[in-house]
Subunit: 203 residues, 2 copies
């Protein structure tokens, strides 16, 4: 088994944090995104979508998509449960992981990809108007999240889940776009300090 | 229990098809997206993200996000399994549902939202360059999918799953943007005919 990893990019980091929370160690191979190694013939044979991460099993089977890789390990090693337990909890974790993806990580990624000078080669054409369009949506969601975190510790409820991993990775990925969580969002800041202090956060 | 539904929009349709496949009937309330009813105070209290569908439970709890609603019903009523069985199958269904979302439905939705004259009020500002940027990605994914469907019946494997629902809804949602599956993609066309012939497709 081998994980094709991608350094500081947010999706590979989601999987590394998930594995650290589960206490799972597997061999990794770095795919150099800066050198566009994800578009080589060799890597395209692994994942035709040319994205990282991807998990190569010993029989040659490949699982792509970060959350698919996480679900594979959750099914193999259910503890600690990071996708919820029981119908309602499972639904809440899915809802909040998707909210964190669609309304936070996605907008952060679009702002980065379409505005950062370093992304010119990878994202062709960059569309600056689209990048800018995403920025206010980041702050609107963080404001909403701040209200939600007023009466609970973690994104999807009382327990740390994959939704916290997605949201933390998204918040940390605001940095290369020089975006920061406003000081007035005290609940988001408190939550971020809590999750960033977990040993898995350095994965 | 009540489902806030949204007519011809793709995400509400995903949930309706899912429920039809499970044989589950629940009361629905239509949210008139054309009249921007999803942005009223009343609906914002149901789902602050102002999106449909949303599932209101009898105790007032709300589950938003289409796939979260589907997972809730899958956990309550596991048969027929639409999210896979066993670690590898679960991972494949998640991978293919996400590929159908990220590399097909998403691009179809962006092209529609940023180019269709009828979306001017809902998507403000429309960014036509961004809408156009998404179009070739739709056809690149369909081409890839055609190769994949050369040796299997359904998107994620031998069985019909939620990934087929997402992909069918995405293909059908190409129509308002006047986009069609090229005739040369015979496997995609054969697959679409098969899934569109299921009774659930009319949901």
């Amino acid at each position: 088994m081998k994980l094709f990893d991608g350094g500081r990019a947010p999706n590979p980091r989601r999987v590394r944090i998930f594995l650290a929370e589960k206490g799972i160690k597997i061999p990794t191979e770095q795919v150099d995104l800066g050198a566009l190694q994800q578009r080589t013939d060799a890597y395209t044979a692994v994942n035709p979508m040319q994205r990282v991460p991807a998990l190569l099993l010993d029989d040659g089977t490949v699982i792509a998509e970060s959350i698919a890789i996480c679900r594979y390990f959750e099914a193999l090693y259910p503890e600690p449960a990071l996708f919820g337990r029981g119908p309602l909890d499972i639904a809440f974790v899915e809802m909040w992981n998707r909210r964190a993806e669609h309304h936070l990580l996605f907008h952060v990624a679009m702002a980065f990809q379409h505005l950062h000078p370093g992304m010119k080669q990878m994202v062709d054409p960059q569309i600056p108007a689209w990048g800018e369009d995403n920025k206010p949506r980041i702050f609107a969601f963080l404001q909403f999240l701040d209200g939600e975190l007023n009466d609970r510790d973690y994104i999807a409820g009382a327990d740390f889940t994959v939704a916290d991993i997605t949201a933390m990775v998204a918040v940390d990925f605001m940095r290369p776009s020089k975006l920061t969580v406003p000081d007035r969002l005290q609940n988001v800041k408190r939550w971020h300090q809590t999750v960033a202090a977990r040993p898995s956060a350095s994965a």
